[in-house]
Symmetry: D2
Subunit: 327 residues, 4 copies
């Protein structure tokens, strides 16, 4: 049944820690199953421009622990056009590539979905994004690393906040999803967490601050960048005007959240998913994302994966948990 002789692999969209571990797993699993691998550079741009290199075990030596992606990544406008995708297809055919593994987030899978159906070309996706905002997998590759980077940073901020009795508003990444804010907020013992999904506003924060322990010297509020309340600086302004007696500071963590060594969980997840993606292609999967749900490997159609909906992910359970812990 295995008719696949050669696969292509690429990383696309925003980078996330663990992408290299994912590439390594795809390459090593392919070699194990006697499949050749070609790596395309800068996501779909590499497909379109035929910018690629052959990959063997040596290509992926000593990269499992590295942040970023050795294949580089980009967002591709050209791949959104019929002409761009046609070029990409021709390059794949000319190189005798039978199937693709694409590592990225919703933008990546949207493109893969269109291309895969347009040319009936087998593609399996791997969830590589720090946002953890995809359906069909409990965790995305990079999320665990990102939240640990956040708590390391906020632990440092807590040191100085404690020393100065300050209120800190810390903005973390997550344009459409508050999942980074949610777990890292619990992890740092935040007084309040502002996330888009929860429809919580600055009013709730004000209420909490008034009712929290009076003698608590430092206070940390975690804000997801996409929150309706309007980003850390705006929240900071509102709080400062309402509570002028607080010494309020704002910190935007920014791009450090995308880099750094992947955690063990991200490396293991990337390794499992990489093997699963290759095995999926061998078994005839296409237009699906490989994911891990309840510790099992599963496949989810791209159009479902990108819907971002996972009722369990931000449920009332989480909201109540935060209420209890920051009471």
């Amino acid at each position: 049944m295995n008719k696949i002789k050669k696969i292509g692999v690429l990383t696309s969209g925003g980078d996330s820690p663990g992408m290299n571990a994912a590439i390594r797993a795809v390459v090593r699993a392919s070699i194990y199953y006697d499949i050749e691998v070609t790596g395309f550079l800068r996501g779909y741009e590499g497909l379109i421009n035929d910018d690629c290199l052959p990959m063997d075990r040596k290509s992926v030596a000593n990269i499992i622990q590295r942040g970023g992606t050795i294949l580089k990544t980009a967002r591709s406008e050209a791949f959104k056009t019929v002409e761009g995708r046609k070029k990409a297809y021709n390059n794949l055919i000319n190189r005798n590539i039978d199937a693709l593994v694409v590592i990225g987030g919703d933008g990546t899978f949207t493109g893969a979905n269109v291309f895969g159906q347009e040319y009936d070309f087998p593609i399996v996706g791997m969830p590589g994004t720090i946002d953890n905002d995809l359906a069909g997998t409990d965790f995305t590759i990079g999320y665990d690393s990102a939240i640990n980077t956040v708590i390391d940073a906020v632990d440092k901020i807590r040191d100085t906040a404690e020393s100065h009795d300050r209120l800190f508003i810390v903005e973390v990444m997550g344009r459409d999803s508050g999942l980074i804010a949610l777990r890292s907020g619990i992890g740092v013992g935040a007084e309040a967490i502002l996330i888009p999904e929860a429809n919580m506003g600055v009013e709730d924060v004000l209420h909490k601050l008034e009712h929290s322990r009076r003698d608590k010297s430092s206070k940390i509020i975690i804000v997801a960048e996409g929150d309706d309340a309007g980003g850390a600086f705006k929240v900071g302004e509102i709080l400062q005007s309402k509570y002028p007696h607080y010494d309020t500071k704002v910190s935007v963590l920014g791009h450090i959240q995308r880099g750094g060594k992947p955690t063990c969980m991200d490396r293991v997840l990337a390794s499992r998913l990489g093997v699963s993606a290759v095995e999926g292609l061998i078994n005839g999967e296409k237009n699906v994302m490989a994911g891990q749900v309840n510790r099992e490997m599963i496949f989810t159609p791209f159009d479902h994966a990108i819907k971002h909906i996972d009722a369990e992910k931000v449920s009332t359970t989480w909201i109540k948990l935060i209420d209890i812990l920051s009471f």
Copy 2:
């Protein structure tokens, strides 16, 4: 239905990162539900010697990020005796304590099980051990931190192994369980992993080394301390005698695996379980361990939790995964 007015909390057995986050969650959840909390020092020793202190929100301020346990921990021989447990019970009654939360591993729960049945005293356990060897929870508090400590250490060892073309045998903790070795071994891209469960021996390792990539300069073998092959030094001797051309070194990671700041996942797990344990007691749970399975909070009777068996945990799937990735 909530007749619980006052609970005791203690940490027992080997310490693990996240125990402080667990204590904090128990204390804050209790306060949220209008329950008083008493912390007992040094595990069951504190119960027996009435060595304890009242806990409020201030007692658990700024500890979520700290390794170790502010309540200290110990193994108690006295609690294994009828007299010891009787003293403990009397102290609990004298202090009007209605229920206990015990944080620890199988030894802790074995003691809790006997005591709970002997005196019909409500106890809920929380899985606090780096070994991840309990049934009834996907992960134990401290496991994620420990495997990240291991990969940080082995990443450092890999640097020097690469520079010298060396073979390193690295021993990690896990007397009865190879789960630390398993995930950390995948996380560092180990050539081979020796774990008790897999009945793998040095023969397999020798076979792998002979068949792995010739041009690979460094090689890392992860050995669980409990492996039948006999610990890292013995494995090192066998390999050195069989492959004298390798420059073989042994490293025993030791107690660094028990300390350090807990990871975000361990803090969140400890926070969720702490709230769940208190809510469980309120709802009448007893003689059970609070655990997280498939992201849900569940309760498992102590006698099942300590059986260490979880078929999925080290399955043939994992063994095959390692084979593919280290091929």
Copy 3:
């Protein structure tokens, strides 16, 4: 000669990693020399409000590795007034305190200098600031930790910069001094470093970017917050308009630079200086800062220490070094 029976210790101004190690050393050295110690909270505010606590070895147990300051810190407007200082003096006399150790930066020493002369009260300062901007010491306590926090952050940013072929402008702390930017810039292999002392402007950066290796994919520019060029965002705008083909991003590292565990060098420096400060007071030193120059402990009058001038610190040697390394 030792007539000192009781000293006070406080931390003042912006906090820096290693302040706790400094407090610990002052307390332990005092006890060694049979001197009592009182800790004042929130810098000079604690002196004025008589907000203090007695300190013994237990007070400083297990703090050497902690960021922040257990004595808390603040900037005091009241201490700039005659009335404020009079209150402070009366409190010291009422508590039979013979001498003070103040840990902080130039603002702290300015206040100490006035007070010490006004009341002929013996004060020895310890340089606790991340900025390394004091004369009379090669390094200030916290500087080494801060530059390591910066390189950890920029190493992460480099991962994502490399993956996306991006130009990053990273702003580090240092309002009046570019020393954080200087060493961390060299440490991360920055393409350019913009610091106030060097009179370098965006022109130089543009020149460098044009002449640097064409095939270099990522570029990092470090900007000290006090640089005349105008902060990272302004530099980013100029570069973006001049080089629209670069994908330019800005990151302001912010308060993470003040927190975190102190490095070994900062702990050792704080330990040595703390002992030296106490021994200095015993030997009759006053109105001086304890410093380390060429590995020796020395004392420098406050009014010299706060002059910020140290010709060697940012010399043409450093500027040339950066030119060579980023050529």
Copy 4:
């Protein structure tokens, strides 16, 4: 005066963090001064076997932050022979190499000294070793990183020691030198430090333990591997037999001390020394090690550098400091 057209660079002996930063600086400084660079692999072995590669700016891109050495390293028996050195010389001549930069420790410089004099070949050394045991430089490249790795590990051990009221004997590297033990011991607040230079024995440790704070729960003793007292395990045995009431554990930190990302100080030191070494060769230096003393770049003849003696390095000042801090 600059007649050097092409230099060779190699790393030799035990690896240390910052060697890559050193290689990078040598390569970039050479290019700046219009000199070609050849990198030899595995130290003197590469010279003898003509195992080398041309190096340009791209060869050293993105390595400043990496542990280990991209040129690999080894100890060479062959280079101790006349024949081995003759082969090495012939290879250098055949490749038109005019001068060498060797990065390593005393063994490396001993070889360089013989070779340099035998063939009148210009060699400048760079101190690359974690031991900090060379005269002619305040610090060696890798020392600062190693002591920070040690304190990170011991901070973790302190967590578990505190939780269990344990006494830990921790062995650190330093066969002939206690400098790693010295600074890291101060940095972790050790109760006692056993180093070869100080002629301190287990007796002193026993004395200290008896007289230290009774209520102190955890105790850490740092032992240099070369200490006469006989290594951590022997010290542990003696203490256990003398103080059976302590719960004593031994931890040997091992090779993690050689790896990991270099600290900022090591990167800056390596960068400065690399530029200095190349400029030294241009200016006619030979048979010398480039070092940094009192923040200035200097050159020291190899035969002096390897004498390991630096009176200031372990003076009575340090011993007294430890006494005061652990009083």
